[in-house]
């Protein structure tokens, strides 16, 4: 996930200071140097880094953190606030316009415009209940129209094209006419990607912009973009007056510093973030949460919202109560595991929970495989056995193993895991009462 290494780096820096009881001018310099390197390695623009470091330093001095006991928390707070400043204060959504909202997607080649056009359409249709049309105005890249057609049908939204022989400006105008006539709420115009120095393309984009008056002109920026990203954003902004940025491929391990920089230097808000290849993997971008994530404080709100979408709430509440009561059956465990899978990849979730140890991709794959084994074994039990696993004897286990295609040892493993989970639930209840979490976080959940 993006920013992971920045989190690692900064927590490394902070750990170093934590060891020292007092912050002196000397170790302050060292810390600032480390923060500088970490930010630069995350592709934060060097100009931004420079002013960032200066701000942190000034604030640290202003708040008189020197010679105080435990000043590191103060620095963490300053850095956190600065990053949040950098990302902007509030989440900014799409501005709608009655009766038709026109959105124009622009960006360099290969930043994911076409895929994102589909995702955005899916988002408007399914989360905002809008009727969406996408228009294919990239007539240059071979296969671009086919791709958009496939993406649109996948997203279940309307699609408009006129082949690759018609002037894209005309296509855009016709698409808008169609959208107005047929009662669409949103028109998304996919445009050709080029290099920003391409004047002919800029001219074409300007003409489309002039003809269809989009409410939103969104620039696609790759999370892996380097130092030049701010120049790109400036160039597009100068010609087209952008209204926001969509950050693509935030599901990779790129640190996404370019996005931070664009927001800081151009003031353009980041409105959405692409977090996967599937059509529903586009999220609203929440700057305040992202600052927490950068600093490794976890992003609990995102997790809760993700979970809400995937989990049947009533069932979850029932499960939670049962769990806390310690009345927890194998059926509950299986259902829980399935729900966790629905939320998304385990690793992604773990990263959102503060104090949760990191899960590697391999572990994640393993967990997925494990899930299959668990499901087969539990499904091979009778309903009574699932609720009362304590009655299981050798002969039962033999039958279950055979039925599921696994071994006795696997059956025992499931039962052991079940006992552990049950135990943990009881503990959590205790901790809940006392209002404290077990030391080392919820590490035990990682095995699910």
């Amino acid at each position: 996930m993006a920013f992971e290494s920045l989190t690692d780096k900064l927590s490394g820096v902070f750990k170093k200071i934590r060891g020292q009881s007092k912050l002196t001018e000397k170790n302050m310099e060292e810390m600032l140097r480390e923060i500088r390197v970490a930010l630069l390695e995350s592709d934060v623009n060097f100009k931004v880094v420079k002013s960032f470091i200066a701000d942190v330093k000034e604030k640290a001095i202003g708040q008189d953190v020197y010679n105080k006991v435990n000043p590191s928390q103060m620095i963490v707070k300053i850095v956190h606030d600065e990053i949040q400043d950098l990302l902007g204060d509030e989440q900014e959504g799409i501005q709608y316009e009655k009766p038709l909202t026109v959105i124009m997607m622009v960006g360099l080649q290969g930043t994911g415009k076409t895929t994102t056009a589909g995702k955005l359409g899916y988002y408007f249709q399914n989360k905002e209940n809008k009727k969406v049309l996408v228009a294919a105005c990239d007539i240059y890249r071979p296969g671009a129209i086919d791709q958009l057609r496939a993406v649109a049908s996948n997203a279940g939204i309307g699609f408009y094209e006129e082949g690759d022989k018609v002037d894209p400006v005309k296509i855009a105008i016709h698409a808008k006419e169609k959208a107005s006539k047929e009662g669409y709420d949103v028109l998304i115009v996919d445009t050709a990607g080029r290099l920003q120095i391409d004047e002919a393309l800029m001219d074409e984009l300007k003409r489309i912009n002039h003809e269809i008056h989009p409410k939103e002109v969104l620039l696609l920026v790759d999370a892996a973009a380097g130092q030049d990203a701010v120049n790109v954003a400036n160039a597009f902004n100068k010609e087209l007056r952008l209204t926001g940025v969509i950050l693509s491929r935030l599901d990779g391990d790129a640190r996404g510093g370019a996005a931070l920089s664009i927001k800081y230097l151009t003031g353009l808000p980041i409105k959405f973030a692409g977090v996967g290849e599937r059509v529903n993997e586009l999220e609203m971008f929440y700057p305040d949460r992202m600052a927490d994530r950068i600093l490794g404080m976890g992003d609990v709100v995102t997790l809760v919202e993700k979970a809400k979408e995937a989990i049947d709430e009533k069932q979850a509440e029932k499960d939670a109560r049962k769990m806390m009561e310690g009345e927890f059956t194998l059926e509950d465990m299986l259902r829980q595991m399935k729900q966790v899978q629905k939320i998304g990849s385990l690793g992604a979730i773990a990263k959102l929970i503060p104090g949760m140890p990191k899960i590697t991709d391999e572990q994640q794959e393993k967990a997925k495989q494990e899930m299959k084994v668990f499901e087969a074994i539990i499904n091979s039990m009778t309903p009574y056995e699932r609720r009362h696993p304590e009655i299981l004897r050798y002969s039962h286990k033999n039958r279950i193993a055979k039925g599921s295609g696994y071994t006795n040892a696997d059956v025992n493993r499931v039962l052991r895991k079940f006992e552990q989970s049950k135990q943990m639930m009881k503990q959590m209840k205790q901790y809940q009462k006392s209002g404290r979490f077990p030391p080392g976080g919820l590490g035990g959940l990682g095995g699910f």
């Binding site: 390197v37 360099l108 296969g143 790759d222 380097g226 790109v232 794959e365």
Partner: protein, 330 residues
């Protein structure tokens, strides 16, 4: 091969290089060059002699071109030592020394560089092309096919990107335009089976160069990376030693994540070279220096534009000069 012979080799090659090629190379890099030329120009004008701030600004220029902070700091430290030792105070001399230091670092980090694809003495040579999404894999494949077809090789393509909507069509359009054979599978088919069919086709039809396309994948997607490893293994079963070359395509706008990309791809398939695309923008592609520095993988080709001919052999000397010195020195 020692540094000296490497340098000599490089320079002698440059002499015979066609003027026209050099010209287009320069044109492609013009934008980045202009930015740097003016920057370095104003930098050396502002400083009568070099001091600490001068080096700081030099470091920023390196970082700004995505060279990477670790390598940039190391280069500047080296330069500081040299300046002190040789008592250099002239900004222009320092700039030249910087280019030299970068040249030496690149040339000595890993094996010597042969840009062209090394062909097998017998049977088809297989080139696997991989990279993250949107870097320009398909276009680069078309350019490579064009290049080797013009050199009299019999080229075939295998459309191994069965994932992205429209990818097979895109490659098929190129194959038709170029007049080369293409082996395709259905959308959503196992890419390893397409690779297998491609290898079989290449053997049966006396193909010299089989270029295998792959779906773009983020290096964090474990299962997709494993799939790439599988394609590699399937190819080697059908044609011993295949893929003989694996090119990783990297977008010139990529930042420090490029090193992570190269590392991850190298783990699942033997990456033998990098093709850097979209160098005709203002991006400097400095990440290739970090990749070479850390992993030893050389850049083989460089994409300078959208036309078929716009794929050039990577020339370190020209690149560095374009990167740092600007027009007055070129």
């Amino acid at each position: 091969m020692g540094l000296f012979s490497f340098l000599k080799n490089k320079f002698s090659k440059k002499d015979v290089k066609e003027k026209e090629e050099t010209k287009s190379y320069e044109k492609g890099l013009e934008k980045s060059r202009k930015a740097f030329a003016s920057k370095l120009d104003s930098l050396s004008k502002r400083y009568a002699s070099v001091n600490e701030e001068y080096f700081e600004e030099l470091e920023e220029i390196l970082i700004e071109s995505d060279v990477g902070v670790e390598l940039s700091i190391r280069l500047i430290e080296k330069l500081l030592d040299q300046a002190k030792l040789e008592k250099i105070t002239d900004p222009k001399t320092i700039n030249e020394a910087l280019v030299d230091a970068m040249f030496v670092d690149y040339a000595t980090s890993g094996e010597a560089i042969e840009n062209e694809i090394t062909f097998q003495k017998e049977g088809p040579t297989v080139l696997l092309v991989c990279g993250v999404n949107g870097v320009g894999k398909t276009t680069s494949i078309a350019k490579l096919a064009y290049r080797y077809k013009n050199k009299g090789k019999k080229v075939a393509l295998a459309a191994g990107d069965t994932f992205r909507a429209g990818a097979v069509e895109q490659l098929s359009v190129w194959a038709k335009r170029l007049g080369v054979d293409i082996v395709t599978g259905k959308e959503g088919a196992d890419p390893a089976s397409v690779a297998y069919d491609g290898a079989k086709f290449a053997k049966e039809h006396g193909i010299d160069l089989l270029i295998v396309d792959t779906a773009g994948r983020l290096q964090t997607k474990n299962n997709l990376m494993q799939e790439l490893g599988k394609m590699s293994r399937v190819l080697s079963k059908e044609i011993p030693g295949a893929p003989h070359e694996t090119f990783l395509i990297i977008d010139a706008t990529t930042g420090q994540n490029g090193v992570v990309q190269a590392k991850a791809f190298k783990e699942v398939t033997p990456v033998s070279g990098i093709v850097i695309t979209k160098m005709d923008g203002t991006s400097k592609g400095g990440i290739i220096l970090s990749i070479r520095d850390e992993l030893g993988v050389p850049v083989r080709f460089i994409g300078l534009g959208e036309k078929m001919e716009d794929l050039r052999e990577f020339d370190l000397d020209q690149y560095l000069n374009g990167l740092l010195l600007g027009e007055q020195d070129a």
